[in-house]
């Protein structure tokens, strides 16, 4: 689920707090140019999923749930992920990609959306965030 981290970062910026996001492993999909418009929901193995796992795993159910969620998001005026990432960039949040995750998926910075400022290692990110609260989502 891509939204929680993005929403928190946006709320921080609106309140005048700096926000830096580090995308690693599956989180990298959120800023991957090829995947950002096709992100999926995790219904199976998710205790908060609104439908039983045995049904959630059936073909087409995830697509249905995604469509339903998108409708609900629109009603609440929550933008799609790509627009959300652009909004965060406009709001002055800094986005970073994880070097190791890029290597693992055989990607380069050019495969990421332009809002990603830099590709870093987790240690670089820790150094630049020293003293600030770090939330892992």
């Amino acid at each position: 689920m891509a939204y929680p981290g993005l929403i928190l970062a946006n709320a921080a910026r609106m309140a005048g707090v700096d926000a830096r996001l580090f995308f690693t492993f599956w989180g990298l999909d959120i800023v991957n140019e090829k995947k950002i418009d096709h992100l999926h929901l995790n219904l199976v193995g998710n205790p908060s999923a609104p439908i039983p796992a045995i049904i959630a795993g059936l073909p087409g159910v995830e697509a249905l749930a995604r469509a339903q969620m998108r409708k609900e998001m629109e009603r609440l005026d929550i933008p799609p992920i790509r627009e959300f990432v652009e909004m965060l960039d406009d709001a002055g949040a800094d986005l970073y990609g994880c070097q190791m995750a890029l290597d693992m998926f055989k990607l380069t910075k050019d495969d990421l959306v332009p809002q990603v400022k830099e590709v870093l290692t987790a240690m670089d990110f820790m150094d630049m965030s020293e003293g600030a609260p770090t939330i892992f989502i």
Binding site: A11, M87, D90, A91, G92
Partner: protein, 100 residues
Amino acid sequence: MTALEALRTDADGYLVNRDDWSEDLAKELAAKMGIELGDEHWKVLKTARAIEGESGSSPGLRKISKRSETPIKSIYKLFPDGPAKLIAKIAGIPKPKSCL
């Protein structure tokens, strides 16, 4: 006691009664925060106040941006350091509950 000191605000500094608000007061509040209000500021502030008047809840930046046709980026330039809070305080409306 100046008008500014006599104002009733909540613990976070938001105006308690929206009718205590006036344009002169907004100018004073903004000046205290280091902002000199220009046309662009007013457009944003009046939009925020209008939305709050209609819906009863303070809007987040996305709503303000869409309705006032002011890009998010510009809003952050007009009200640096926490635009959602600053706009609500200067526009005399409660702290926004939206995270967007």
